[in-house]
Symmetry: C2
DNA sequence: TAGATTGTTAATCGATTAACAATC
DNA sequence: TAGATTGTTAATCGATTAACAATC
């Protein structure tokens, strides 16, 4: 077992392993090799072995990895062996879309509260179980329900203000869908899920429709 | 001016520069230095200078970058000086959310058609201008409207089938929101926008709520 | 001119991949 | 035993950062 600082790149691959392993489990596959994993996930087998070896000796030489055992281990590493409560701030279209993914997020991570600042939206049901609360109630609810992660799906201009609220309420991590670089204290982890960046950068890779000249 | 192979990391930063520069333009700031950009965007100034220098000498020593000029240049690099048409496949909650972002995507990239396989959704209006078409019409519409990018917001199991359809219709790039590794020919660029990965990996960085023991 | 800031080279840092002994 | 596959070290590759001459 190693215990250096684990790189972000490694951590981001863990959920990808977890998802595919869960699929294998459902198909009652009991063992898998780094080779097979790599083929399916478009990753180098050595990289997969190395990633996993950071956390322990989970495999068996000559055999591979026990699917069910590895799932348990990764879930533990990701702290998903306990339920993690999540707050959604912003009950617009995107927020609503995410709340419906609750079913997919069967990994012990659950959106347990939704907030919006628009009075018209307060009291609305989004998804089967979530009722939109006024944002003024965020602090109290976060503490009562032991919410540890916040998802921000509000418009750009409100994002920083919401982040401050979440941080003030004691949240530990934020998933930010607004295209803003949030300023947060160092103990709060922020991941940015900005699809406009993904989309616009795609254009770069299009075939040049126009002339292909090197103008200065 | 350089002209090696540009790394993916560089290309992904271009839209980030573009967005902030646009904000500066709106505020009538005419010049900006790599230092200021770096501060605001949480990036190393040297990295910003290097990124931009791959494409040309856009700055002026002792002065910085002309905001308006740099915007034009980046838009050109990203091929956003022409309109890029986009198709949305999957008119569920997420697809609907994205179609409303059309206003935000003022950068000449526009969702011009939406498709779904669910007969109940055909004919529905999503966003102000988009009417959901049956997926059988995808091939024809993509060709008629010169659509070059496809966004996949269908359930996991349908994602690969839809990708095949898009590729068959001659699309050049795909933004995939389904948590599936798509198999596509090498000339088709695929970006994955999988927020479940972002969300689950956040859990890793939470403070250990449980005991902090190194069990084997 | 003096101060500021670029473009670029060299140095550093980090991540991926290859290779292979250990061993099931 | 022979074949397969891990865990890990070493080699490679690529990306970030520091430093500075050029110059506005």
């Amino acid at each position: 077992m190693k215990s250096d600082k684990i790189s972000e790149a490694v951590v981001r691959r863990l959920p990808i392993y977890l998802r595919y392993l869960t699929e294998l489990l459902k198909r009652e596959v009991s063992t898998v090799s780094s080779q097979e994993l790599g083929q399916r996930l478009d990753l180098n087998p050595a990289q997969i072995r190395k990633d996993l070896a950071y956390f322990g000796d989970f495999g068996r030489k000559g055999i591979g990895y026990d699917v069910s055992y590895l799932i348990d281990k990764i879930r533990h590493i990701l702290k998903l062996d306990q339920q993690i409560n999540v707050a959604l701030v912003g009950a617009g279209n995107l927020g609503q879309a995410l709340s419906n993914y609750n079913t997919y997020i069967k990994d012990n991570m659950k959106i347990v509260a939704a907030f919006d600042s628009n009075p018209k939206k307060i009291g609305n049901k989004i998804s089967n179980t979530l009722v939109v609360q006024p944002i003024e109630q965020l602090n109290e609810t976060v503490q009562n329900l032991n919410i540890r992660i916040g998802i921000i799906t509000v418009p750009d201009i409100e994002a920083q203000r919401v982040a401050d609220l979440l941080v003030g309420a004691g949240i530990e991590a934020i998933l930010n869908f607004a295209p803003t670089i949030l300023k947060t204290p160092p103990h709060v982890r922020v991941h940015t899920a900005d699809f406009t960046t993904d989309l616009l950068s795609l254009a770069y890779y299009l075939e040049n429709g126009e002339d292909h000249v090197d103008n200065d």
